[in-house]
């Protein structure tokens, strides 16, 4: 492998990894607060991609406007899902909420299949994003630089919200102890809805950039990235935003580099993430940066 090829793989991995990371943050925030695996998160990601498709192709909106609208619409979807499917089950056994999450995920996927049809749709890529830049004999898509940059800006903004604002403080308080937080007068359900909105916005942003990078969208596009992002969240330490991003990047690098170095095993590409998951669960269940979660008796 030449160094030029390695650099190209490096930027591919960086792109894929930061996209995984953005989705993983939504999982990790919801899990940190509700101890719930939000299976529908991957479908929010899919909807982000579809919203941008319809915004640009059907309504001829400029890219920037369409992206903002798509992210807003996806956040709204996240909040609605929480209100309908998760909020009534707050005091139910956790497994009930998990089954509800699986149900919502299937509902969204099949609804998308009915409404958008199963036909893969091509996304229009802006010219300047896909014209390769040449640095010597290294050719890089501008996307490979733009996607990680936007991702890191978004994560920085999120960290600011979580660690420097009042709602962020409430979010962290809920993740420590939901009952005490409620007693202190925090409107818990509102904060949880806000968490879903933030997570869904990041997932939608990731979906939009995914659609730019891999310009074929279909109703089930969110399933596998969703699972992998969850794995990234577990790997990085569930409940930790930085951990989710780190986990996503590591997962992206593992996938791209293993395929690049061992092309004969490329058929097993989708299994790597799950093997990684099982390995981390067995060795260090709290993940790389996670705090120890004590099961309350």
């Amino acid at each position: 492998m030449t160094s030029a090829m390695f650099i190209q793989h490096f930027f591919n991995a960086l792109t894929l990894g930061s996209l995984y990371g953005l989705i993983a943050i939504g999982y990790t925030m919801v899990y940190g607060i509700l101890r719930l695996i939000n299976f529908a998160h991957g479908d929010i990601f899919m909807m982000g991609a579809y919203f941008i498709f319809f915004g640009t192709v059907s309504f001829f909106l400029p890219w920037g406007v369409a992206a903002v609208l798509a992210i807003a619409a996806a956040s709204l979807c996240g909040v609605i899902i929480d209100r309908i499917a998760y909020q009534p089950l707050r005091n139910a056994p956790r497994i009930s909420a998990l089954i509800s999450a699986i149900g919502v995920s299937f509902l969204i996927e099949n609804l998308a299949l009915v409404i958008f049809t199963g036909l893969p749709r091509p996304v229009v890529q802006p010219e300047w994003l896909v014209k390769p830049l040449a640095f010597g004999n290294v050719r890089i898509l501008p996307l490979g630089l733009v996607v990680p940059a936007i991702s890191f800006i978004l994560v920085a903004a999120l960290l600011w919200v979580v660690y420097r604002t009042k709602p962020g403080l409430a979010m962290r308080a809920i993740s420590k102890d939901i009952e005490t937080t409620r007693l202190l007068g925090v409107k818990v359900n509102k904060i949880i809805a806000f968490t879903f909105a933030l997570g869904s916005a990041l997932a939608a942003a990731s979906g939009i950039m995914w659609a730019l990078r891999y310009p074929q969208i279909h109703p089930f596009m969110g399933v596998l990235p969703g699972f992998k992002a969850f794995i990234a969240a577990v790997f990085g330490g569930i409940g930790s935003i930085q951990g989710a991003m780190v986990g996503g990047l590591i997962l992206g690098f593992i996938e791209i580099m293993l395929v690049a170095f061992f092309p004969e095993f490329s058929g097993y590409r989708d299994a790597y993430a799950f093997i990684l998951l099982i390995a981390i669960l067995l060795v260090k269940p709290t993940g790389l940066l996670g705090e120890k979660l004590e099961e309350k008796i």
């Binding site: 509902l107 998951l277 099982i278």
Partner: protein
Amino acid sequence: MQQKKKNRFRDTCLTIIVIVLLGCFLHYAQNHFNGYAIQIINLVAVNAILALSMNIIYGFTGMFSLGQAGFMAIGAYVSALCVLTPEQKEMMWILDEIIWPFSTIHTSFFVSVVAGGLITAFISLLIALPVLRLGGDYLGIATLGFAEIIRVVITNATPITNGALGIKGIPLHANMWWNYGWLLFTLYFMIVLLRSNFGNVFKAIRDDEVAAKVMGINTFKYRVISFCIGAFFAGVGGALMGNLITTIDPKMFNFLLTFNILMIVVAGGLGSLTGSILGSVIITVLLEWLRIVEEPMTILNFEIPGIPGMRMVIFAVALLVIILFRREGLMGMREFSWDSVIGFLSRPFNRNKNADTGKEQA
């Protein structure tokens, strides 16, 4: 004591009568129903076996396992490899030659199903030893991961499994007698198991694992046992399904399959064998019946176009409604018993009598 013995005799008689009636029904169905109806009746039995297998792991032992589809895949592939003749296999494996031990095996159908179950149970043991140290939803995700890994491995192990092309032309051995025979065996096994001390331990672990541990139970051992028994029957169910549909490929055993079974178990009632059976009848028939919405209909001269895919939307909504409004499912944790049926049926007749003896019975 005498009364109890008498009741047991009565219950056995009634059970035998029901089984005989079921046999008559199946015999009648085989001769008079069309192929589609027979297929649905068969699917009910296979789904019931799968639901029971999931219920023992999740409903009775409280381990949230989402690996069912993976176990089914193993069972189906093992059975298909056993039951096909060497010539058929040589013809079908186009991409890669089939490798030695698998190319010569040829067994009867029954042996192939048992082999499918046993090998699935063995692989599940290998999975269980590391994974069952986890609890709660982590276990769900890990088992889901294993199911995915099994699927990827099957897709790529072309010399054994024929890869993504799958296996076609499996002879249709799984007729109603086999399917319902296996269902009866599964049910009988589970009833005996749950009445034994194993059943008590499983339920103790489900209700409170820490308390069970404090009582001196080696919970890990019993969790592994429950997991392997469930996997065995999932493998059997997968083998029967493969022989019923006669075509298997790796794509078939995706998460949707696990989801369907989960739906049956939840709808029927977690921790109720009766619920699993009822659930599989209702859900299987409902899923087929819902195909109506996907076909064009004419109501009062208005042509309503069919909506492809609408079936699964309704199905998902149904699951959500159940989990939101009736979390315990159809049966909750109750079980069918002849006492309750007779009590229910005789209620109109001796209402007056009960009014007198009510106090005694209470």
